[in-house]
Symmetry: C2
Subunit: 227 residues, 2 copies
């Protein structure tokens, strides 16, 4: 008899997340490359689940007039409700993670820059359909330490991003704590944890490949290949 | 025999919306009262569904250090998927609406002002738990013309907001068109359409009452009473 664990994340369930919470400016070198101010505390925004692009669902669509940028990020998929988690509760944070995925936080950079200048929300710049390519679900056991893996992204086989998650300014317990003190996180919710340096533009025809290496070894389920 | 229409919105289904999209600055006098710039086109942001507060679920929780403001708004509940709707397609827009609700877009005004100044996202300021009190579902037939109803909000029985939706800068077909050209709207999704003038602070112990009047007559299902 096969026992299916209740609530186990599948590709079908990913799009049914009640929300996707995205951390901004969580790697120092990325903050510097966009001439941004290093945050004193984590900040975050939402992407709509309608922006999720599953493996095999086709290319990222570039909206007319948009400067399209990639941002490779580790995604956490939660397995239980999290509310008012204490930042010191590292075990509680790790226990709340059910599985992982790799994701690309596609961004309409010119729209975002305009929004930042005018003090307007980021949600349009971040929320177009297809703006969140995501890998297969990665089992929790495949990533023994989420703060010690290598994220990479190539465009047309040229390496553009390649850094370890050990460079995160705020680590996962602090991220889940800060988010959950604002908004309750539910089982199935997705948190993307910020991007390392190397973000840049893509145009139609470019091929993005992204993945995770652990001790130099490629994680098969983490691979993304998207036009 | 009672036939239940498939997909009919219920209070239970409201929290399962795949997203809540919120229009900013859609009433001229409200734009002026916050010293904002009148937008050349609609803009919008997201609230997480975790912020929804159904009738009877208790009070709005004021986070520590937060200046809490109310914004009464007409909510649309969609009955079908909307993607790339043309602004001229008024019938398509109205057909996409399955029902209505009244809502209060609670806002952490000091956090929002800080975010605007720093060019940061609005999602924290808008997204705390309990920040979206909502009425019962209002049947579509109860609102023959969504551009000709009166929204009101009182605090401790003093009228603070009271204006007609005919004052919207951008009307519903334009709103649904602009949103759906960025992000696909799904059946069950909620769109809140902006607030008229009169926004202001509340503190714990204050009682907000809000409602809709049509030709001077109160709509029972639209009533909100929340601490
Ligand atoms: Mg990002
Ligand atoms: Mg949902
Ligand atoms: Mg509002």
């Amino acid at each position: 008899m096969v026992l299916l664990r209740r609530g186990f994340a599948t590709m079908a369930s990913v799009k049914k997340a009640s929300k996707v919470v995205c951390i901004g400016r969580n790697y120092a070198d990325h903050v510097a490359e966009l001439n941004n101010v290093r945050p004193k505390q984590p900040f975050f925004f939402l992407k709509p689940t309608s922006s999720i692009l599953l493996p095999g669902e086709g290319p990222v669509i570039q909206p007319r007039g948009v400067d399209l940028h990639y941002e490779v990020e580790l995604a956490l998929i939660l397995g239980k409700q999290v509310k008012n988690l204490e930042a010191s509760d590292e075990q509680g944070a790790l226990d709340a993670i059910e599985s992982y995925a790799l994701s690309i936080d596609m961004t309409a950079r010119n729209i975002q820059n305009e929004a930042k200048k005018k003090g307007l929300p980021w949600d349009i710049a971040k929320g177009f359909d297809t703006f969140l390519p995501i890998s297969k679900v990665i089992s929790k056991s495949a990533i023994p330490d989420p703060h010690n893996i290598e994220l990479y992204l190539t465009v047309n086989n040229e390496v553009r991003q390649n850094d370890s998650t050990e460079l995160m300014l705020f680590r996962i317990p602090r991220l889940l704590s800060d988010i959950s003190k604002v908004m309750t996180l539910n089982a199935g919710d997705i948190v993307i944890t910020g991007t390392p340096k190397g973000v840049g533009p893509v145009v139609p025809g470019d091929v993005m490949r992204a993945g995770i290496k652990i001790n130099g070894k490629e994680l098969e389920d983490a691979k993304i290949e998207v036009g």
